[in-house]
């Protein structure tokens, strides 16, 4: 089952797309999954027939999507007996790349996306307080610390996102989990920069830990409040960074 002992496809990545299958949706699903590390560098994608069946799209749509992903350098296709499509995860993005991603959002876009993330994350934390299994709580406590234990943009981004996705998993909600994955892929990848400090990572880990503790103590109101505040602080940071992209002027807080 494992080609070379290394493996892996995360099945959530290949589950059917919700409404019809469009090329953009396939591209987005795969790009998101690579950004969050759900698909790792060098990982082989299932065959075109299998993948199109799993995603619920036609092979024509899938081929279009793969062609575009190849152009973006996210997927590499090798021919021959050991051929197939492989993930080419980009190295850690530079500050310029992350700033360019941020520039694609307007300030009001960021506010809107931040509101959605706060509502999903807040609700997930509230529900997790009454639904988390012992296994969920154990994993949440482990993941809460990770953002401070790792270094580098890619690892920090993935550690941060994994914690938030796990809160939704602990809420026993498939839909909230999918929403959280998608929002983390959109916003989570903007949060950490090569210039981010240990101190910032420590603060994030402390906030994660507080959320995890509230969930483990079954304090639904506190868990929700802490999760919302955490998202609001992050959104605030992103909006501040976005405003500064306009250059000139002085910083008004």
């Amino acid at each position: 089952m494992v080609d070379n002992g290394r493996v892996t496809a995360r099945t959530t990545v290949f589950s059917p797309l919700s409404s019809g299958g469009r090329t953009e949706a396939v591209i987005q699903r795969i790009t998101e999954s690579v950004a969050l590390g759900l698909l790792a560098d060098g990982e082989q994608l299932p065959s075109e027939t299998e993948l199109s069946a799993q995603l619920g799209v036609s092979t024509v749509t899938l081929r279009e999507a793969l062609a575009s992903l190849r152009e973006q350098g996210v997927v590499e296709t090798k021919r021959g007996r050991n051929g197939g499509s492989f993930i080419r995860a980009p190295g850690d993005p530079t500050k310029a790349v992350i700033r360019a991603r941020l520039a694609a959002f307007s300030v009001s876009d960021l506010r809107d996306a931040g509101d959605e993330l706060a509502s999903v994350s807040g609700m997930a934390a509230r529900l997790a307080s009454s639904r988390a299994s012992t296994d969920n709580v154990r994993r949440l406590l482990t993941l809460s610390e990770r953002v401070a234990a790792v270094s580098g943009v890619g690892e920090r981004t993935r550690a941060d996102s994994r914690f938030h996705i796990e809160v939704a998993v602990a809420a026993a909600s498939e839909r909230l989990t999918r929403a959280e994955v998608s929002l983390q892929a959109e916003l989570g990848v903007l949060l950490w920069l090569p210039t981010s400090t240990e101190q910032e990572a420590r603060e994030a880990a402390d906030q994660h830990r507080a959320i995890a503790m509230a969930i483990s103590r079954e304090d639904a109101d506190l868990a929700r409040q802490l999760a919302e505040q955490h998202v609001e602080r992050n959104t605030h940071k992103l909006i501040e960074a976005r405003i500064e992209l306009h250059g000139g002027g002085t910083r008004a807080r």
Partner: protein, 248 residues
């Protein structure tokens, strides 16, 4: 039967709780009966290979796949099945699972997971309760209900039973069952009860209930007395029970 009911009052008669308990346990036992076939297949492999004087390798487990597929393509509710090996048991792979999963179009295929402990975020089955409990306590176990987003990608339950050889823990044979499947069997039974009823797992988390007051997956705190709650064991060794509360 409530004390104020008289014999002959058949129409309002509460159903026999023993019969209900048996019917609720039946689907669980049926899944474990399917798993027993897979467990036997693993035992056979281990016995044969070790009988020849060598250790079991990952490739030896290939014969289990068709057996697992057989449990998936029957009319049961299983969407995934196979064996998950105790780390260190195999000669060539430290960690390994031979696990089959139904694709959305109904064909079985291998479930591929990142189980490398050195990787960023491995699927650490050796930490999960459906593996831990059979390993540490030598008894069968049902994990969940949970959304297994890194594995089966379903909201459901993982059933597992330990396999031993010569006193050593080999691994578990197991199966994934979507909660929706189990619910469709359990609800008609729960509907016959005249009280609020919730089937809960060992953590007192709701598997299925006949009322929205008990949300699937939510932990139920039932104190003594108010409201008075009866606890009826359903599958005692799994810690599954039925909570009964008078409707308001």
């Amino acid at each position: 039967m409530p004390a104020d009911r008289r014999p002959g009052d058949e129409h309002a008669e509460a159903p026999d709780i023993t019969a209900v308990a048996e019917e609720l346990a039946a689907p669980v036992e049926r899944v474990f009966a399917e798993i027993a076939v897979i467990a036997q297949s693993l035992t056979d492999v281990v016995t044969a290979v070790e009988g020849r004087g060598r250790r079991v390798r990952a490739a030896d487990l290939g014969v289990i796949s068709p057996v697992a597929d057989g449990t998936l393509t029957g009319d049961g509710a299983l969407v995934g099945a196979g064996v998950v090996m105790n780390p260190g048991y195999l000669e060539d792979e430290e960690r390994y699972l031979e696990w089959r999963q139904l694709t959305r179009d109904g064909r079985p295929k291998p479930l591929l997971l990142d189980i490398d402990p050195a990787s960023d975020d491995p699927y650490d089955y050796w930490e999960m309760e459906w593996f831990r409990v059979p390993r540490d306590e030598g008894r069968r176990m049902v994990g969940g209900p949970y959304f297994d987003y890194r594995g089966a990608d379903r909201f459901g339950l993982t059933f597992a039973t330990p396999v031993h050889s010569g006193g050593r823990f080999v691994g578990v044979a197991g199966a994934d069952v979507p909660l929706a499947e189990l619910e469709s069997e359990l609800l008609p039974v729960l509907r016959r009860l005249h009280q609020r009823a919730a089937l809960v797992n060992h953590e007192n988390r709701v598997v299925t209930a006949n009322t929205p007051h008990y949300a699937t997956g939510a932990r139920v705190h039932h104190g003594i007395g108010d409201p008075p709650t009866d606890v009826v064991p359903i599958v005692a060794d799994l810690g599954w029970s039925l909570l009964l509360t008078p409707a308001e």
